[in-house]
Symmetry: C2
């Protein structure tokens, strides 16, 4: 399962209903954070996502609303005892920004912070069973979109086939399921592909950052399970969107259509968007599986299953409940 | 009247009940902000304190928890249409910090930002009827405390005296009340001090920043109406307080006693302080007029009157109410 936590879903300036952009992807205990607007640390802590997890942060671009929460998050992690190294990816200038802020505020992290400034598109992270791929998108400053892609998983183990090939039920089955060939007592070698049928594709989550609709992003997001796309303006404000290097809801939906994604999350909404219902209605005319991001919304994705959207109102967590230690403990058990 | 808004009252890291330090003093429509921790802009906006007011910001020191909300606040002001210049006072390095963040995040403010790095103690602001005085305090890095002082006001006008001196009721009374001498038709000059009895002292609010108890602060805060003092730790953690350059609650109370202040606000509380009731009880053993700061607490001070403390729970504003435009409009009318 992949979980997505929408820590802030507004853009440019905060609004009464939307904080500044940050999305956390959690998978098998690892944390992947996309952008880190001011206030991200409060929401991250309130969701008890963990200060000492294996973690990577991906910054789309260096505009203040996307990055100014990062120094505070890193400082708080240090005070709260983080020991593991933390990797941060982003555009050129990120290293300078963090170094200057650290030195001028006298911050010396108690853990290793590894900063990677991205110089070209392609695979930037390749781990055991996932990759992160980056490409440039079309904004007013150098900006990246990131694609988190699970590696394909082995298909279904066929016990009948194993038995017919003479592999007895037991530890040899396990080895085959893990992808190793086994040698039987009679000298016969059985390979995983002899008993495992096909592959199951991994899930793919794409985070766009601020952008105009663009081909790079359509290509990066092709066949994604879920695309989180800039949707700053209602469709009648296309002129404003062009001027500011953002997308309208209709434009975001057209990208989702062209990229053939499964779900589209409309993200980075302007503070002027207060009528979410009609914003969503407008989106679904063009792309049916559209979802308007909400602060604190959580999404659970499972392979080959419908996604589950858990809005704030359906959860125990409410910002006003984060007010007493008792309630904080309750939250910890969510 | 002077109003104090406690936007964030914690220290070092945010806690479920406390944001990072920032206090706003509002007087006659002017805004004075003391420190600006991350998240200050959200709380400032939620309280509808105004983006285009005559405003000055005073930074105690450059540790991240006290200053990292400043770039975001300044950027948001720009987007929301601030036109008036804004003055910022703080230690050496503040200019470099803001300039670097602005240039690396591509921010060009639409209004003038005047940064004053403080090089010596004394009066740093002298306006029509108030001053701000600064002195250094005792922390791990260069740190300032600020004293906001109203100028003394003329005392009470005595109409009997005016009549007995031959000044007829009317515009000449007004001129005397405004502090001007007047000349009567018979050539006699009547001075304000002939008809106005004494002076009424102004109010004095002192914001300490992070500090160990220190003589500079006791001197600066002498006879203050209200002192906001570092009170990071309970009294049994004095060792920790010394190590980190902070004060315990007992130490803060002793400063208040020595400085003979009217009220003490215990501020910058560690996230470990969750039992506020016993923290307050402990304080009042040493200094009776102690108040534990709470996020969103508002204090109203009137000359020669009791102060009025309006905690969050007694007000319409609750963070969770800041969630719909209707409710936001309601808040605007508070």
């Amino acid at each position: 399962m992949i979980e997505l936590f929408f820590l802030g879903t507004g853009g440019t300036v905060p609004s009464p209903i939307r904080g500044l952009p940050s999305v956390v992807l959690r998978r098998q205990g690892e944390i992947f954070m996309f952008d880190c607007g001011e206030g991200t640390q409060f929401r991250y802590l309130s969701l008890h996502l963990g200060v000492n997890k294996k973690m990577r942060v991906f910054i789309s671009h260096l505009h203040g609303d996307h990055v100014l929460g990062l120094p505070g998050l890193l400082m708080t992690f240090s005070v709260l005892g983080r020991e593991r190294p933390l990797e941060i990816y982003g555009p050129k200038g990120l290293n300078d920004l963090l170094s200057r802020v650290f030195s001028l505020t006298g911050f010396e992290p108690e853990y290793e912070i590894k900063i990677f400034e991205i110089s070209s598109s392609g695979i930037i992270v390749k781990d055991r069973d996932y990759s992160v791929i980056v490409d440039t998108v079309d904004h007013t400053v150098p900006t990246f979109a990131y694609s988190f892609e699970e590696s394909p998983k082995p298909g279904k183990f066929n016990p009948q086939k194993a038995i017919s090939l003479g592999v007895p039920k037991g530890p040899l089955w396990k080895r085959l399921q893990l992808g190793y060939s086994v040698t039987l007592p009679n000298g016969r070698v059985v390979k995983p592909e002899d008993v495992i049928e096909g592959v199951r594709p991994g899930m793919k989550i794409v985070y766009s950052g601020d952008t105009r609709p663009c081909d790079n992003l359509i290509k990066l997001a092709t066949n994604a399970s879920l695309l989180i796309h800039d949707s700053t303006f209602p469709s009648d404000l296309k002129e404003k969107a062009i001027e500011a290097g953002h997308s309208t809801v209709e434009e975001a939906c057209k990208v989702a259509l062209k990229a053939n994604v499964q779900y589209l999350i409309l993200f980075h909404l302007s503070a002027r968007v207060v009528d979410v219902a009609s914003f969503l209605e407008e989106a679904r005319k063009t792309f049916k599986r559209s979802i308007v991001a909400e602060d604190y919304m959580k999404i659970e994705l499972r392979r080959e299953k419908e996604i589950k959207i858990i809005p704030l109102k359906d959860r125990v967590l409410q910002p006003h409940l984060w007010e007493s230690p008792q309630q904080s403990e309750e939250l910890a058990n969510l």
